[in-house]
């Protein structure tokens, strides 16, 4: 009897997570500014840092995939929850018979899904236009999937900070996310980094995504591919913990 109730509750929570995912997709992600941001920014970054730098096509695509996944997955999290708070719709979600975990998972999923789809664009450009040969397609899919989830949860940490203004979140979010580009083996390979920079790079979630994508696209990386995948899984869980704590803190503070 209790098992049956628990199963029903689990089914309910899954259905609710899916409902929130679809709603977020329609309300936030499938909007022209978001689509433009998700697709154009990574190309802009890529060309900014790659032109006249004698970068091979495969290396360029690997970088572009990592950047696209990182920026698209981690961008919406800091925006959606403060916006929902401002519009009052956050209360609607929090008052619904749904656990906080379900809400966080739903919002992680939607960010990850968007990033996963967005990363298909540079991948298709590479495959069709530049004739890039992917060394390990399964590893690439697994890497992109896990990186999307981990980065989406990373963005959610910022979004969960108890404030109502999007601007208050964007500043710390930008200050932390952008420097990661320079210490994660994207523009300077890990093998060429100074020891202090290499030590710093291990603190960046983007390092492991770039490395596993390098394994998948180029057939070689700096770290063990399984270590990369494992760290991304751990980071997904680790990022959800402060997000949940910050949400609980919001309930105490009244945001």
């Amino acid at each position: 009897m209790i098992r049956s109730i628990r199963l029903q509750r689990l089914r309910d929570e899954m259905a609710q997570a899916w409902a929130v995912t679809i709603k977020d997709m329609r309300v936030y992600y499938l909007q022209p500014p978001m689509i433009m941001f998700g697709l154009i920014l990574p190309f802009f970054l890529f060309f900014s840092f790659s032109i006249k730098r004698d970068v091979g096509v495969e290396v360029g695509i690997a970088r572009l995939l990592a950047m696209t996944t990182f920026f698209t997955a981690s961008s919406a999290g800091p925006v959606i929850i403060p916006m929902e708070r401002r519009m009052g719709t956050y209360d609607r979600l929090m008052a619904a018979p749904m656990s906080l975990a379900t809400l966080l998972i739903a919002q992680t999923l939607v960010g990850a899904f968007f990033a996963f789809v967005a990363s298909a664009v540079p991948l298709l450009v590479g495959l069709v236009w530049l004739h890039v040969i992917i060394s390990n397609a399964v590893l690439l899919l697994a890497g992109l999937l896990l990186a999307s989830l981990a980065f989406s949860a990373f963005g959610l940490v910022f979004g969960s900070i108890p404030v109502q203004s999007v601007g208050s979140i964007m500043m710390p979010s930008t200050l932390i996310r952008w420097p990661l580009l320079f210490i994660s083996g994207i523009f300077i390979p890990l093998s060429e980094m100074a020891p202090w920079a290499l030590a710093l790079s291990y603190l960046s979630p983007l390092t492991y995504a770039q490395d596993v994508i390098n394994h998948a696209v180029l057939g070689a990386g700096y770290l063990n591919r399984w270590l990369d995948l494992g760290v991304l899984v751990v980071l997904l869980i680790v990022f959800l913990i402060p997000a949940a704590r910050l949400h609980q803190r919001s309930r105490v503070l009244g945001y």
Binding site: V20, V27, M87, G88, D91, A95, M98, R251, V252, G254
Partner: protein, 331 residues
């Protein structure tokens, strides 16, 4: 009968500020319970704690017997909530908003469409079902918010200031809807600053002030308990010969307020005061052109309890054959 809401020693601190101070009350199944209070009294804080949006510092809340601190899930399933600001997704249509809410509350898939259609019909939104809510008027958004709050047929509905800012027609329609919902067994917790609304709708009201429950009873009993806020309204001709000092000199008058072309004199003994006024008019060659005795209104009780000055209100509604008040502006 099990209470719909039981609150024991509920307390909320924001930092060092005590917003809600050890309040206890219960709301019976099937009643419309009004929660009144001036700005900053703690009414919204209390409602947010009751709806699980805010964590109490201490105290206990039972919703239909379920302790919110232990497991809010069964309580959330039977609650509906209409916040002060209409919280709809403006990028979605009315239909999509309703269906999303039905999904959140796990309304069975084969019932969702029928209920959404029924609610759109009830709230006069059928022809706008596919229109994005960003194109809706304030009144339409309000109606949609209420429709979303009841799509899962909650047995307990929280309404926070449901009608302010709406035109008279929309406000009346929403009040009628509240009565209908209550008639079908829904318990209603109505947070409002509109005293006349509470007077018309509520079986019982609680008045909260400075984070504490100052009074809780039926509107009529509360009025009866405040005999000192009975009053006499008078207009004499010629008016120019009447002033505040002369009226204040009458025996038993506690306060004198100018109300348009009339004067309102508060007293515990209206009968004696009427005699004094008539005698005064006769002695001074004046004519009584208006004289009316008024029992304490819920507004008088509210103002007395919350310590606000009487006469700071706009008088626009009729009650018991005389003009009665609704507080002007937000509280």
């Amino acid at each position: 009968m099990k209470a719909a809401i039981e609150v024991h020693e509920l307390t909320k601190y924001y930092g060092d500020h005590l917003a809600v101070n050890h309040i206890s009350f219960d709301v019976r199944q099937g009643e419309i319970f009004g929660f009144l209070g001036p700005n900053g009294a703690g009414k919204s804080t209390t409602q947010r704690m009751l709806t699980t949006l805010l964590e109490p510092t201490s105290g206990q809340i039972l919703i239909d017997g379920h302790d919110l601190a232990r497991d809010a899930y069964p309580a959330k399933r039977i609650m509906g909530m209409v916040p002060e600001e209409s919280n709809v997704y403006i990028e979605l249509s009315a239909w999509d908003n309703l269906i999303f809410t039905a999904q959140l509350y796990r309304v069975l898939a084969n019932q969702r469409n029928a209920r959404a259609r029924e609610l759109l019909e009830t709230f006069g939104l059928s022809e706008y079902r596919g229109v994005k809510v960003e194109n809706f008027s304030k009144g339409m958004r309000r109606r949609l918010t209420i429709a979303m709050a009841i799509i899962h047929r909650p047995s307990l509905l929280f309404l926070d200031e449901p009608v302010p800012g709406l035109d008279a027609q929309s406000a009346r329609a929403i009040r009628e809807m509240i009565r209908q919902l209550n008639a079908t067994g829904t318990t209603v917790f109505l947070t409002t600053h509109d005293i006349e609304e509470a007077n018309q709708l509520c079986d019982r009201v609680a008045i909260i002030n400075h984070g504490q429950i100052a009074a809780i009873d039926t509107p009529e009993r509360l009025k009866a308990a405040f005999r000192q806020v009975q009053s006499v309204e008078v207009a004499l001709d010629p008016e120019g010969r009447l002033d505040r000092d002369a009226l204040s000199a009458f025996s038993g008058v506690t306060q004198v307020i100018k109300a348009g072309d009339k004067w309102r004199l508060y007293t515990e003994d209206p009968s004696s005061l009427v005699h004094q006024i008539v005698r005064f008019a006769e002695e001074n060659g004046m004519r009584v052109i208006y004289l009316n005795t008024l029992g304490p209104s819920l507004e008088d009780v509210f103002l007395k309890i919350t310590g606000q000055e009487m006469g700071t209100v706009r008088h626009e509604n009729n009650e018991r054959g005389t003009k009665r008040a609704k507080m002007g502006g937000r509280q």
